[in-house]
């Protein structure tokens, strides 16, 4: 019998701490190749169209930035939550609510135009996301209700609310009965960063700025220290005079606000109207991004690009090789598995041991 034995390292390994995401990526690629072979596809060709092909053309680099923007924005907020040991898994709902709040202006007041529209929309988006995250925050602080379950339940509620809006009161009168709002007017559309080459919008810039700002907050400010301490050792943090309730509110509202910003940026920059479905699961994929980036906002930028690539690669592989686009989600799930498994290497030594039975008989 061979078994796996885990022993705690005296100190976390710095080397592995840097390399564990790469190990995880490598393992995912191996597992993915096996999956492609099982599907009867050439793994080399499949991996090429997944991870290389989207990087070879300018337009698809723009698509990469469009997909990475919400992933990074949401994951940066989640990293603050998870560092503080607050388990917000309802970012998808906060994303949706931010999109709804932000869209209210161009949908309900299409006559109101001018340079003020866009900043107001973005602000509303942030407020919408914060409002949706406020619910699990207040329930956790006031009643001790588990935020994992409440934030997740609110994802379904937000999705149904959006569905009701676009099929009911907000449905476009000129939309031939399609469930969608009117298209946003020009002033309500988040502009492209660099018109000449493609359609990547300012959401990507917001994502990078947010990542750098939150990195600074976490690593260089007292608030960041408070958050990290509350996550690692809540008792010590309380002795230091930090309030756990305040940290819960701060973490959830920050991540809700960023998810809301991601929502309105996506709707305003990439879609141009509200529809029943506005996200291919960004809020959940961002959980993977947060862990792949090792809960470090700068690492999350790189991780967000990797996950965005898996979305694009999924589409590319479907077109060129006829591989189901669902394979991308399997990839993403596998990646999170391997990320978590590789993180074990940082704190523990993992060895394969042969068990020898006492008494000497062959085991």
């Amino acid at each position: 019998m061979i078994r796996i034995e885990v022993t705690r390292r005296p100190q976390p390994s710095r080397l592995l701490s840097a390399f564990s995401p790469l190990i995880a990526l490598g393992l995912t690629i191996i597992a993915g190749s096996i999956m492609f072979m099982a599907l009867g596809k050439n793994p080399v060709a499949a991996l090429y169209s997944y991870f290389v092909e989207p990087l070879t053309e300018v337009w698809s680099l723009h698509e990469l930035a469009i997909k990475a923007a919400p992933l990074i924005l949401i994951a940066v907020g989640l990293s603050v939550c998870y560092r503080a040991n607050v388990w917000n898994i309802g970012a998808e709902g906060q994303f949706t609510f931010g999109a709804i709040f932000g869209s209210a202006l161009p949908v309900l007041l299409p006559g109101f135009q001018g340079p003020l529209v866009l900043p107001l929309m973005l602000l509303c988006g942030v407020v919408g996301g914060m409002a949706w995250a406020f619910i699990p925050a207040v329930l956790k602080v006031r009643f001790g209700t588990n935020e994992i379950l409440t934030s997740l339940m609110l994802v379904y509620v937000a999705g149904l609310f959006l569905d009701w809006l676009v099929r009911g009161p907000w449905r476009s009168p000129e939309g031939f009965n399609f469930p969608e709002t009117i298209r946003f007017h020009e002033d309500a559309v988040l502009p492209a960063i660099w018109f000449a080459s493609g359609r990547a919008h300012w959401g990507f810039v917001f994502a990078i700025v947010a990542a750098v700002a939150v990195w600074f907050l976490l690593e260089r400010t007292l608030k960041g220290f408070e958050i990290r301490m509350m996550g690692q050792s809540p008792r010590a943090a309380r002795f230091a005079g930090f309030s756990s309730g305040k940290v819960v509110f701060f973490a959830l509202l920050l991540s809700g606000g960023l998810a809301g910003l991601a929502g309105i940026s996506e709707v305003s920059g990439a879609i141009g109207q509200l529809r029943p479905v506005i996200s291919p699961g960004y809020g959940f994929a961002a959980i993977i991004v947060a862990f792949l980036g090792r809960l470090n906002p700068l690492g999350i930028i790189a991780a967000g690009l990797v996950l965005a690539l898996s979305y694009l690669g999924g589409e590319a592989a479907q077109i060129s090789l006829g591989i189901s686009d669902k394979a991308a989600r399997v990839f993403q799930g596998l990646l999170l598995f391997f990320v978590l498994a590789s993180d074990t290497l940082i704190h523990y030594r993992v060895r394969l041991m042969r068990t020898v039975k006492a008494g000497g008989g062959d085991a």
Partner: protein, 304 residues
């Protein structure tokens, strides 16, 4: 009419009851497995695929159970052997399950499923009033009720159950007493996977015999909430599952009757009810703390 409604409530409650009773055992041993939704949907797709291919729904149920167990082993490998964060690993299991089931089930979308028919127990099912309700149901219903009773007996009346609870209450002491913490937890997690897989199988073999992507629709999460709602007690899980079954069937009937409310609001009711119930139950912090397995969610690495 009333009997028909009660029957559908039982059908809606059964997958919740199955999944929650499995998760209860896992959590009593100290393991928080947030992957219930993932194990359930894998059970659903495996059950549909095997039942459709072989034409035998019993084999489908078996396949669903096996899919749940093998998925739970993946979770066990991560959290028990490799001592990873249980919350994150459970989420990974759910994300992987939703993705993998979507891919595996793609070729089964829109195909007619095989239904596991009700099995009437002779004589008893002819009893007036409760006969059909209690003894004229599908096998999953009987199994869920038997599991509810069986788990209660196991946890509170058997030695092995006492050991399992002590592992969940304080894994260091249990280890010091010579209990095999990791082994007990593996078995508990596998039982949770078995139940979640069966719950998924019930969805595709009884509830709606067809395969639709994401058809578990958050039931795994509601099952997790039920465990908290029930304060980790099997009897209350049964009550909770039937309450939720009643809410979800009630909203369906309300939609059919067309009572002026938007259908989306009615569809949101089970989720809103979950939140309301969680708030009500967690308001009493003392009672919650007393009932929560003290080692819940904490990884255990024995000193060597």
């Amino acid at each position: 009419m009333l009997e028909a409604i009660l029957l559908t409530i039982a059908t809606a409650a059964t997958p919740l009851l199955l999944a929650a009773i499995g998760e209860l055992v896992a959590e009593r041993s100290g393991v928080l497995n947030l992957g219930v939704e993932g194990m359930m949907i894998m059970g659903a797709v495996a059950a549909f695929a095997v039942a459709y291919t072989t034409g035998n729904p019993w084999l489908g149920a078996l396949a669903g159970a096996l899919a749940g167990v093998s998925f739970s082993l993946l979770f066990g490998l991560l959290t028990l052997t490799l001592a990873t964060n249980q919350v994150a690993s459970g989420l990974a299991l759910t994300i992987l399950g939703l993705g993998a089931s979507g891919m595996l089930g793609e070729s089964f979308v829109g195909l007619p499923g095989v239904k596991l028919e009700a099995v009437s127990i002779p004589v008893l099912s002819d009893l007036p009033l409760v006969g059909r309700l209690l003894f004229g149901q599908d096998p999953f219903f009987y199994l869920s009720i038997l599991l509810g009773i069986g788990v209660w007996w196991f946890l509170f009346r058997s030695r092995a159950g006492l050991e399992l609870r002590s592992v969940g209450a304080n894994h260091a002491s249990a280890h010091a007493l010579g209990l095999k913490v990791i082994r007990v937890r593996y078995l508990a997690v596998m039982f949770g996977g078995l139940c979640a897989g069966l719950a998924g199988a019930q969805l595709t073999l009884v509830y709606t015999p067809q395969w639709v992507e994401n058809m578990s629709a958050g039931r795994g999460w509601i099952a997790l909430a039920l465990v908290v709602f029930a304060s980790w007690r099997p009897g209350r899980i049964v009550v909770g599952a039937y309450l939720f079954g009643a809410v979800s069937i009630g909203q369906l009937h309300a939609q059919a009757l067309g009572i002026g409310l938007p259908s989306q609001l009615l569809s949101a009711l089970p989720y809103l009810a979950t939140i309301a119930v969680l708030v009500l139950i967690s308001r009493d912090r003392r009672a919650t703390l007393m009932n929560t397995p003290a080692s819940l969610g904490q990884p255990f690495v024995p000193d060597r």
